[in-house]
Amino acid sequence: MLVKLGRLAYDPALALQRRAHALRVAGRIRDVLFTVEHDPVFTCGRRARAESFRVDAAGIEAAGIAVRRVERGGDVTYHGPGQLVVYPIFDLRAQGRDVKGHVATLEEAAIRTLAGWGLVATRREGLPGVWTARGKVGSVGVYVRRWVSMHGLALNVAVDAAHFAMIDPCGLPIRAVSIADEVAPAPSLVVVEERFVAEYGKLLGVRWREEPATWLEGRGDG
């Protein structure tokens, strides 16, 4: 199942993820992949450290960026306009209970997506995410409970660099790059979303059936 949420603030998207996760744990829905573009937000993973922020709370508030603490692994990251975010709510028992494989497949789908524009990206051992020669273009952060995943991967298409500059992404003094920094003319987010979904589906061996964002409404309550 594929549900494209379009542009949606972080909180309602998280509520949808949590609802889908609970329904998937209960066996009331099948695997679902959400795609979304968020309003500006910094999210802090379970092991986020205050020193990963380069600006204080007042600076973040002045920039109009929300801060949220979430259950995924990893440190601080940024989501915002110009970034494709994907949230697979998958039962990993059907995929060999392989948490590392789940993350690697997300990374590989991003790498193959970028290759479509001739952009060479790689994984780095010990540093989850997707990297170009100039910096980090994709970030991962996942939560698995009862073997069902949530959260996922964020791919920078054309992100506001000033927002990213307010943090050390994932707690590392590294540079975040966007596809738009590397490729001209840069593809639109919708085109990147289409390619990513296609590449991810190929890797997983699934044909997506797209459902509207209202799909979860009224499910599993009865």
Binding site: G45, R46, R47, E71, R72, G73, G74, G96, R97, D98, V99, K100, G101, H102, V103, G126, P128, G129, V140, G141, V142, Y143, V144, R145, R146, C170
Partner: protein, 81 residues
Amino acid sequence: MAEGVTPVRMPDLGEVGAAVVVEWLVGVGSAVVAGDDLVEVETEKTTFVIPAPASGRLGAIRVPVGGTARVEDVLGSIDRA
């Protein structure tokens, strides 16, 4: 392990390195039911919630928050009900 005690082991999550214990979700001595969320670990940017392997009470924590564990390592133990 003594009779009546079930070890809480680090599960096999794929080819991951060491995992870090992020939080014990119940305290030592607290009652747990098999399958309840027991302890969160993190590896490869993934938080994984390990369920209680048996019903009883959390008898001991072997790997505290911040400690690391590999597959099959004993994180703690359940004194079975």
